[in-house]
Amino acid sequence: MSMIRKSMPSGHDTMGGNRFSLATNAERVCAEIMLKIKSSTMRNLIAAGLIACTTPACAASEADFKTAYAAAEAAEKEAGALRNQWTTTEAMLTAAKKAAEASQFDQAVASSKEAEALAKASIFQATSEKQRWKDLEIR
């Protein structure tokens, strides 16, 4: 039970919107899965595994960052081709790079994933707006 965060998740927008944070959602989903597992032995094993993954031995590597960053960059490039990049995606890509330069690869991977999610949302927006703009037109 203690694994469920009581504080507001980082992806939640206090203005009532959704900042498209997939990383935060993943944390929540993991916690929910843990609660649903009935077997206490199994639960302990998974918990031990998760705790172990917080140690440096299981931390994200530079290679993980490079993979995550490349995926984010590719999605942002696609948004660029649609002429619809978001400033927040750019900021997250910069943050990822900065974290990687400081060898904080966990943070760098998380920021890259956030950037990728944002870029994909901007692609979705650009694609759906190709028809939806007509709904707003004064006729």
Binding site: N84, W86, T87, T88, Q125, E129, R132, L136
Partner: protein
């Protein structure tokens, strides 16, 4: 025989009817004249107390208090320095002895209301800011930044010489011109940025409403007062500056000033304000 006559009669009647009936217009076929009528009607219905020419004062037309502020501001207008600088720049010859006036019809005086226009040789929309920089480059001068003071000063002076003249944007009988107009319209209504706003979200759906401390201007007549001195910026702003800033405010990465999308947008927005007087340079909160 009677049957043959009857068939001929019916055929002739059908042919006449086909000639008399206007060609069917598909729902998606652009019709700029109808758009402009609907656009202006939308705003005059929304603000029945305003005369069409009042809309060029943007937020200052939206209520009496703001209108009084505008009247007081016009006593000592904050754009006056830019206007004087622009006048001087406009008259100063380039190194080759030519001036801006040599690049424009009527020596560049009183022509603001005709920009942007569609250039049939190039097949693109040409804005006044673009034409000014092309004039500089053609005369061996480096172009100005589209978002900084020099460009604002020059366009302020040119707008001033057109004050009171109604916007007179033409869409020639050229499918490329119609396409540029349509793309400008599409840009205007398309939501973008993380905030998922279109230009219309603020300037069609919410003119007169507050967004934080600002009163939103109506889209009708929004370019007639350009360039503007904005108190928020503590300086002058060109149309390019206005467009790029709007994009970044909704968390979208702005395009480069004078990219085709922005030129098409200016073409659309100016066309639908045809008939409203040029009031630039203007001042805004």
């Amino acid at each position: 025989m009677i049957m043959r006559v009857a068939i001929s009669f019916v055929s002739a009647a059908l042919a006449l009817a086909a000639l008399a009936a206007p060609p069917a217009i598909a729902a998606d076929t652009p019709n700029p004249a109808a758009d402009a009528t609907a656009f202006q009607k939308f705003f005059t219905n929304k603000f029945p107390k305003l005369k069409p020419e009042d809309f060029v004062n943007g937020p200052y037309s939206m209520n009496e208090d703001l209108h009084r502020q505008w009247e007081e501001k016009e006593q000592f207008p904050p754009y006056e320095f830019a206007l004087e600088t622009g006048k001087e720049m406009f008259a100063t010859p380039f190194k080759n002895g030519k001036t801006y006036g040599d690049c424009f019809p009527d020596k560049g005086i009183g022509i603001r209301q005709n920009y942007p226009y569609f250039d049939d040789k190039e097949g693109k929309v040409i804005t006044l800011e673009l034409a000014l920089n092309r004039c500089r480059e053609a005369n061996g001068e480096p172009p100005f930044s589209y978002v900084k003071d020099e460009m604002a000063s020059l366009t302020a002076y040119m707008a001033f010489t057109s004050r009171g003249k109604p916007f007179d944007i033409k869409i020639p009988d050229d499918p490329r011109a119609l396409e540029a107009y349509q793309k400008g319209k599409e840009y205007f209504y398309t939501r973008r940025g993380q905030l998922n706003f279109s230009c219309a979200t603020c300037h069609v759906q919410a003119p007169g409403e507050r967004i934080r401390a600002e009163i939103l201007a109506p889209a009708l007549g929004i370019l007639n007062a350009m360039p503007i001195y904005r108190s928020e910026w503590s300086g002058m702003g060109t149309i390019s500056r206005r467009f790029t800033t709007c994009n970044s405010q909704i968390r979208g990465v702005p395009l480069s000033p004078q990219d085709e999308e922005y030129r098409d947008l200016e073409y659309y927005l100016s066309y639908v304000s045809n008939g409203l007087p040029i009031s630039g340079p203007g001042a805004r909160p």
